[in-house]
């Protein structure tokens, strides 16, 4: 699977752009703020129907414009696929595959797997549990269709249930039958999602450990621990025993919407004890494990988006990462960087031809693909 062409209208700082890619490696090179990362984000949009950086769709439309358009031409198992994302200000997002509109965006997610590695990933460690749940969800939903549908239903039920708890508090009343119809639907969905998340973490954790050891060339014991209220067993019982608290707090205090991941190194949580360098290795290993996991489960090599990693990583980590990428288990690659010579040298060293696009303030100039390397 790879992206052949990308065209943009009014996306972020691009009034208009048309790019044709190499099926191997592509680099967007330009100063900070030139818009090179926005090109990676456009590719992310086409796969997961949203920006990696800004969840407010309307803010991704170019300032002053009324609409935006992202179109990609993909090669999927030798068949051409045209993916279209259109958004008018204040209206709902429209996604089309070969000119046929999707009824639900969830139906598109998973068709074109993608993994982004970006400096903002540090939020996975520093921010609240929501970031870590998003990380799990974005991986599982790329290979398991029912997971995303169930998760959407689960979240909606929780929202209805919370609204009901608020109404009880406002009217100083309680209606058990009304609450029960939501609880009866919530419990099986929570059980199901818990099993899926649990399974995922137990398969994912060893892959992560393996990548971490490769990158750091160390034998440190790192792991990911899944924490959930559902570990206590019978979720229906948990729900009813927390009813008093829920009524007092006016929201649902127990459930998989409170799940978390704890990253540990040695015996310590990474949040507090790891050095900056360790944290970076941790994040890169997480993302590479994500890549390998999706590839193993779906049989498709995800598109890999590397945002600004040469600036943020030290040379030894970059070298290890590039050694990995140069093996044939990676697919199409997109990378953003501030220095054209640096990126060209790194890719020359690993023997992968790279197509370089020079980006200046929402304008892209593409350089011809360098001649293919002769096999040694």
């Amino acid at each position: 699977m790879h992206l052949r062409k990308l065209s943009l209208i009014n996306f972020k700082n691009y009034p208009e752009a048309g790019l044709e890619f190499s099926i191997e490696a592509n680099a967007f090179v330009g100063d900070n703020g030139s818009g090179k990362t926005n090109l990676l984000d456009a590719i992310h949009y086409l796969s997961l129907c949203k920006s990696y950086f800004n969840p407010a769709d309307n803010q991704n439309i170019m300032h002053g414009a009324e609409f935006m358009l992202i179109q990609g031409t993909y090669d999927l198992n030798g068949v051409e696929e045209l993916i279209h994302c259109g958004l008018k200000r204040g209206q709902r997002k429209v996604f089309k595959r070969n000119n046929k509109e999707y009824e639900r965006l969830a139906d598109h997610i998973g068709l074109l797997p993608v993994v982004m590695i970006s400096p903002v990933d540090s939020m996975l460690i520093t921010e609240g549990s929501e970031e870590r749940r998003k990380f799990i969800d974005s991986i599982i939903s790329q290979y398991d269709k029912s997971y995303l549908n169930d998760l959407i239903s689960y979240n909606k039920i929780v929202a209805h249930r919370n609204a009901l708890l608020k109404q009880f508090a406002l009217s100083r009343s309680f209606d058990g039958a009304s609450l029960e119809i939501w609880d009866d639907q919530l419990v099986p969905l929570a059980d199901h999602l818990f099993v899926k998340r649990h399974e995922f973490i137990s398969r994912f954790s060893p892959i992560f450990q393996q990548h971490y050891n490769y990158i750091t060339e160390a034998k440190e014991e790192v792991s990911i621990v899944y924490e959930s209220h559902l570990e206590a067993g019978n979720f229906a019982a948990t729900l009813s025993s927390s009813l008093e608290k829920d009524r007092y707090m006016q929201y649902t205090t127990k459930g998989i919407h409170k799940d978390d991941l704890v990253f540990t190194s040695g015996a310590y949580p990474v949040k507090r004890f790891a050095s900056q360098g360790q944290q970076k290795s941790f994040l890169i290993a997480l993302k590479l494990a994500q890549f390998q996991f999706i590839r193993e489960v779906t049989g498709v090599k995800p598109i890999l988006l590397l945002d600004d990693i040469f600036d943020k990583l030290d040379d030894s980590r970059v070298k290890r990462l590039m050694e990995l990428v140069s093996r044939d288990n990676f697919g199409q690659l997109f990378i953003s960087d501030t220095h054209p010579e640096r990126v060209q040298k790194i890719f020359h060293d690993i023997g992968i031809p790279i197509r370089v696009f020079e980006v200046t303030n929402g304008f892209v100039k593409s350089n011809p693909l360098p001649a293919a390397h002769e096999p040694a």
Binding site: D107, H160, A177, S178
Partner: protein, 209 residues
């Protein structure tokens, strides 16, 4: 288009624009059209609107809109009074009626359960339904609610309430949901297609009679 030469004109535009699906541009076109008509037609239009809100009634049996105590469907003795089709609102009732496939009676709930919109079972016509079901005349109720979480939840609630009536012979059915007629299977989403497989029907019943 924000300021008009006449206040009366502007007021009329505002009234039309307050209707669902009518933007200001269309509202202006409608008001200009009104002005072109002869005064008698405009008067009739206005009076009909006033009568509509003053005189319309809701059927005491099914909550359909009606001119009298019982709506024309409930009053029609040729209809099958043993079957009740449960719909969210009058619009859905009209949709089922327009299929010309249904000869039973209806029950209009007046909405579906949705706490996020402040709608609970007490805001819906559920008590009158349960009251009706206590008698033996009704043998089947058909749930014709939207295939949304709120629609499903309402069906689930009604199912629980009806089960408590202790009328085991009462049949509870739901309209089938699945692949639309004329749709390519390849493009049907997994949830819909999965449901269609589970709710498959004997082929003979699909033959046009």
């Amino acid at each position: 288009m924000n300021s008009f030469p006449s206040k009366i004109f502007e007021q009329a535009v505002n009234e039309f624009a307050s209707l669902p699906g009518i933007g200001r541009r269309s509202a202006v076109r409608m008001v200009l059209h009104m002005l072109k008509q002869n005064p008698e037609e405009a008067r009739r239009f206005g009076e009909t609107m006033i009568r509509l809100t003053r005189e319309i009634r809701f059927c005491k049996n099914c909550h359909n809109i009606s001119d009298s105590e019982l709506c024309s469907i409930c009053a029609d003795h040729r209809r099958d009074a043993t079957t009740i089709c449960i719909v969210e609102d009058v619009r859905d009732l009209l949709a089922v009626e327009n299929t010309n496939q249904y000869r039973g009676l209806y029950h209009v709930l007046g909405g579906i359960i949705s706490p996020m919109d402040g709608i609970g079972p007490n805001n819906l016509n559920i008590e009158t339904l349960l009251e009706k079901l206590k008698t033996d005349t009704i043998t089947e109720i058909i749930m014709a609610l939207s295939a949304t979480m709120e629609g499903d939840t309402t069906v689930f609630y009604l199912y629980k309430k009806v089960s408590q009536l202790n009328r085991p012979e009462l049949k509870l059915t739901s309209i089938s949901r699945g692949v639309s007629i004329g749709d390519d299977l390849e493009y049907a989403d997994e949830v819909t297609l999965g449901r269609s497989i589970l709710n498959r029907t004997p082929y003979e019943s699909t033959l046009v009679r």
